[in-house]
């Protein structure tokens, strides 16, 4: 593992074993996260981005299971570099060691704050719980810390909010509370799972700005999951494009937007509505729909929908990621003939 990285996911494979068959939700995903970097994972729904982060957190529920690969995470501490490394994929998701990392070193901002908060426990109760799970402090002190965090994320009258319930807050405030909760133990890696999907556009911009600011102040790394390329452009330094459980292309945000190499990335970018486009012009869409995970196409998963697909090649073998100049990496036979071994 590169000493610069805080997280290094290598060939991660997560499967769901069901009666109907095996769904390869994540099938050989690799990417790195450096300290202080915002990595955006983008893809359509069902592409495996949520399962990827659940695998990192060790909260994949049955019948799902991490079946292969490594999730190397650099733990807090000042010891020798080798001793600080831990492979999260090898830890028991419910075990003590994993639980000590989860919520403390790696924190989650969930997709729907309303559903992620208990409706019958106060905001304060849930914030204090998050603090006290990892820090040996009194209830009083935990309350003070919770109020401090809420102030930091811009919740007005934080002391009053402590005794309120989730359904008494607005959508934007709820998301701020979730962010305060995630920050409660000063994580070094923050995972944001479509944090702006459930809130309206004006609030979205505020939350994104807030996350950017927090990231700079705390020097945290963020993995930001979204299906919205516009959001990625605003927050990410580095982008991972996923399709059907595989990484199609990765690279610095500017390269991905201005010089996309994979046909899927290009198709995604073309389907973004633009204010500069001619009016009444139909928006380009990607032909076809995502195949069912039980029924994955052979070869490159995008081949059946790809405009540049080469029959006899793309539908037979799976392309290997190829490093291009300038930090970009792409898995496509247009760039390299090397295929994955089956």
């Amino acid at each position: 593992m590169n000493p610069d990285h805080i997280l290094s996911v290598r060939d991660l494979k997560t499967r769901f074993l069901m009666d109907e068959g095996t769904a390869k939700a994540v099938d050989g995903v690799s990417f790195d996260v450096s300290p202080g970097q915002v990595v955006g994972i983008v893809g359509e729904s069902g592409c495996g981005k949520s399962v990827t982060i659940k695998s990192i957190l060790g909260i994949v529920q049955k019948p799902g299971e991490v079946v292969g690969g490594e999730i190397l995470f650099r733990q807090r501490g000042n010891g020798a570099a080798a001793a600080e490394m831990v492979d999260l994929a090898k830890l028991d998701g419910r075990g003590k060691e994993m639980r000590a990392i989860r919520g403390s070193d790696i924190a989650l901002i969930p997709q729907e704050p309303m559903a992620a908060l208990s409706p019958v426990h106060t905001i304060g109760n849930q914030l204090v719980e998050a603090v006290r799970l990892h820090q040996d402090v009194s209830k009083r002190r935990a309350e003070e810390l919770a109020i401090e965090r809420m102030t930091e994320v811009g919740v007005p009258n934080p002391a009053e909010r402590m005794s309120m319930y989730s359904w008494e807050l607005s959508g934007g405030l709820r998301q701020r509370v979730m962010i305060a909760m995630a920050l409660s133990c000063s994580p070094r890696l923050l995972i944001a799972d479509e944090p702006t999907t459930a809130i309206d556009v004006t609030t979205q911009a505020q939350v994104l700005r807030l996350l950017r600011g927090l990231q700079q102040n705390h020097g945290m790394a963020i993995i930001f999951i979204t299906h919205d390329l516009g959001v990625i452009a605003q927050v990410a330094d580095y982008v991972v494009v996923m399709y059907l459980g595989r990484v199609m292309e990765t690279g610095p945000v500017d390269d991905i937007f201005h010089n996309p190499q994979h046909p899927y990335t290009r198709a995604l970018l073309e389907s973004i509505p633009s204010v500069h486009a001619l009016s009444r012009e139909p928006l380009p869409t990607i032909e076809g729909s995502i195949p069912h995970p039980f029924n994955r196409p052979a070869g490159c998963p995008f081949a059946p929908r790809c405009v540049a697909a080469m029959p006899g090649k793309c539908d037979r073998r799976t392309p290997k990621p190829t490093q291009l100049n300038g930090g970009q990496s792409v898995s496509c036979f247009l760039h390299n003939d090397a295929a994955e071994e089956d």
Binding site: K54, V120, E129, L133, E168, M181
Partner: protein, 329 residues
């Protein structure tokens, strides 16, 4: 919260008034009256009464008046705290049912607590270990529990206890304590006897509530707040007890409104079979003998217990669920 409780308490007298009318109509519904069945009883034992004597008896008890007059006389006396005299026993009704009512309430509430204490762990484990041996075992056990009539369970247990262990398990007290005043020793004796009726009466409810909890909990276990709590690093069992179980118990508490009255009145047959000194067997006897004032008082106390049960469930639900609390205040 206080407003909520007061609002409900204010409804109580009105409800009881309505119930008193219903109770009176129900009791008057069968043809004939107490004197008719008294005469029949006399005839069965060989003696008889002449017309004049019968009319005198009717007049004495006010049975010759129209129904509404009888009702208002009854209501007025009840409001003054006088439940009247049992025609059959020739004793004040308050004396007859006082002790029995207390035992009915003790038995009902203990059964209720037993039900929850057993149903919650069974439901929780069945849901969290879905399709395990434990889950299947209790599924079968619960169906048997729901399907077997309680008096049947009572009879089987009585027979088993008598034939295998040689003990009689009827009543709530040993013979030496039956008519004693309350004492520590009598309470201990009650404890020794009451567990069996509790188990018998509670089995049905336990099975039902465990099924309800299991279904509710299975819904809750996939909610996003579970994932969030896990992501916080919370130990699995602690989070299950704090969030989903807490939320799945709410519908269970609202079932309390119908379940508590059901325990009180549903115990009638079991109490008769087991010869328990509760108000159930007394109601049965008073109905057969058309002892209208006694039957009226008992039916009304059942109504009263039902209303209190509903009230308790409302209060408990408001206390448990802030969403209900805020809505009502």
């Amino acid at each position: 919260m206080l407003v909520y409780i007061v609002k409900r308490l204010l409804l109580l007298p009105l409800l009881l008034l309505v119930f008193s009318v219903i109770a009176f109509i129900l009791i008057q519904a069968p043809p004939g009256d107490f004197v008719t069945s008294y005469v029949a009883e006399l005839a069965a034992s060989g003696s008889s009464m002449d017309r004049l004597q019968i009319d005198a008896l009717r007049e004495l008890y006010g049975l010759d008046r129209p129904g509404y007059v009888q009702y208002f006389k009854w209501l007025t006396r009840m409001l003054q705290g006088d439940l009247g005299v049992s025609l059959d026993f020739q004793k004040p009704i308050s004396e007859l049912i006082g002790q029995r009512l207390l035992l009915t309430v003790i038995l009902g509430l203990s059964t209720f607590l037993f039900t929850f204490a057993v149903a919650i762990p069974i439901g929780t484990i069945s849901a969290t270990r879905q399709y395990s041996f434990f889950d299947y075992f209790f599924t079968v056990f619960n169906y048997v529990g729901v399907a077997t009539p309680t008096f049947m369970t009572a009879l089987i247990l009585m027979w088993l206890a008598f034939s295998k262990l040689g003990i009689t398990i009827t009543g709530l007290f040993s013979p030496e304590f039956a008519d004693e005043p309350w004492s520590f020793a009598r309470t201990v004796d009650l404890g020794k006897h009451i567990w069996l009726p509790i188990v018998i009466l509670g089995m049905d409810g336990t099975a039902r509530l465990a099924r309800i909890l299991r279904a509710n909990l299975l819904d809750e276990l996939n909610k996003p707040y579970m994932e969030m709590a896990r992501a916080k690093g919370m130990p699995e069992w602690r989070l299950i007890m704090k969030y989903p179980v807490r939320l799945a118990i709410n519908p269970l508490v609202s079932s309390l409104g119908w379940y508590l009255p059901l325990i009180f009145s549903g115990s009638l047959i079991v109490a008769t079979v087991l010869n328990l000194p509760t108000i159930g067997p007394l109601l049965l006897r008073s109905l057969i003998g058309q002892d209208m004032f006694l039957a009226g008082a008992i039916v009304l106390s059942y109504f009263g217990l039902a209303v209190i049960g509903t009230l308790l469930s409302d209060i408990l639900l408001a206390w448990l669920d802030p969403r209900i609390r805020m809505e009502e205040a």
